[in-house]
């Protein structure tokens, strides 16, 4: 582990949390000397990863990070396979479809297929949602023992709504149910008024690489039984295209 590279990434992490921040505040948060942070920041700035606001002298993320992010999306085989199946799933069910990957304790959305009814929706690619509070996250955690244990051990089950599972035992039970049905559900656990169904996607090494699911407004919950079947089937189809030997896990 190279110290200065590690510190540079931590600086980016702070910048990610605080949109516009002064050099000395970054130094304080990371418990580093301002001069150390300055050297790192100037290096990042030279590559366009960080910008200095002209007026306030404070720092923020730069455009180079977006370019990197876009290349990541392009290289993701999961995403390219999910594209066509998402359209199909959205058409069949009438709901918005999301595909996500698992970060240490969050799910990151790598594709968002809007509801086919054409209602205007926010662009959601790149957003992150706590893994324990969404169907996509539970679908993946249910089949990723290490990640699940790490999350449970970290004790970071942040509460999002009244329905969020914040107790390890509660989450463990929901994951067991997810495995039983090969389908994860979510009822207003992350966002009030929003429910969801999701199923895990496996790759050629039989490991979870992602999950796909539908977003269902509370008013339309529970969804028709055919929706659950369609989500499972879509996840199985994508898994097969990725070379998964079997589905589920």
């Amino acid at each position: 582990m190279i110290q200065s590279v590690d510190r540079a990434i931590r600086v980016l992490g702070v910048l990610q949390g605080a949109r516009l921040i002064s050099l000395s505040e970054i130094a304080t948060r990371l418990e580093l000397h301002p001069s150390t942070v300055h050297g790192i920041i100037k290096t990042l700035q030279a590559h366009g990863m960080v910008l200095q606001d002209a007026g306030s002298q404070r720092y923020r993320l730069g455009p180079a990070v977006l370019k990197l992010g876009n290349v990541y999306l392009d290289t993701l085989e999961l995403r390219s396979r999910a594209l066509s199946w998402s359209t199909e799933l959205a058409r069949r069910t009438g709901y918005a479809v999301r595909t996500g990957v698992l970060l240490p304790d969050e799910v990151m959305i790598v594709h968002h297929e809007p509801r086919p009814d054409g209602s205007r929706q926010m662009q959601e690619v790149g957003i992150v949602i706590p893994a324990h509070a969404c169907a996509l996250g539970k679908a993946m955690l249910a089949y990723s023992p290490e990640q699940r244990d790490a999350l449970l051990a970290s004790g970071a089950l942040r509460s999002m709504t009244a329905e969020t599972a914040t107790e390890p035992a509660q989450l463990t039970e929901r994951l067991a149910q997810t495995r039983q049905e090969a389908l994860a559900t979510e009822q207003e656990e992350a966002v009030i008024g929003e429910c969801g169904l999701a199923a895990p996607i496996f790759d050629a090494s039989a490991a979870v690489t992602g999950a796909i699911g539908v977003v269902i407004p509370m008013l339309e919950w529970p969804a028709a039984d055919t929706v659950a079947g369609a989500v499972r089937e879509t996840a199985r189809n994508i898994s097969r295209e990725l070379g998964a030997p079997h589905w589920p896990g």
Copy 2:
């Protein structure tokens, strides 16, 4: 400039160009010792910026870079201001609307408003286009003398189509015309069949922060005169919201 941080960013740059690449190839391209690259890569990997492919042992970008990129978009005041005006411009003109920022020699799209006719389109946020070969790029370069000179001096006017301006003199002339009309045009210079109009956006310090423009299919070119007016007006309105003292430059 901190050497190892600089090298880490160069490693990311190589990963950006080559989707899946071996450690020794990265080392060769950067003229570094494999062991040096290994230390950097493992640090990046620990933070999820880089992933190692299970089968081939090769490396690729990781999800953490996408998360960073998304935060950049959220912090961009240009983008939030452009959102509502883009919808309006798309509605008035009937064309897809793009907003972009200027990198050293490319334009990066930070917002894409689809054509209001509802035709299905690719998501284009995060893609980059050579600055000298698109209307957005020329709109910004025309009012950014340093960036223009740097680009002309670099001699990197890559040819995209037969119409691309690859000679410095040719580009200089087109930029002069852009300033004269306060509007940049593009006729199949980047992509065959695609034309465009764009105007620059200025911030409170009277510097160019971006550009907004419409994408026009070759078959519908030239567009009605009202389109040019609508593009200029939109750029002026966004500039005013950002606190620009005057428009153009």
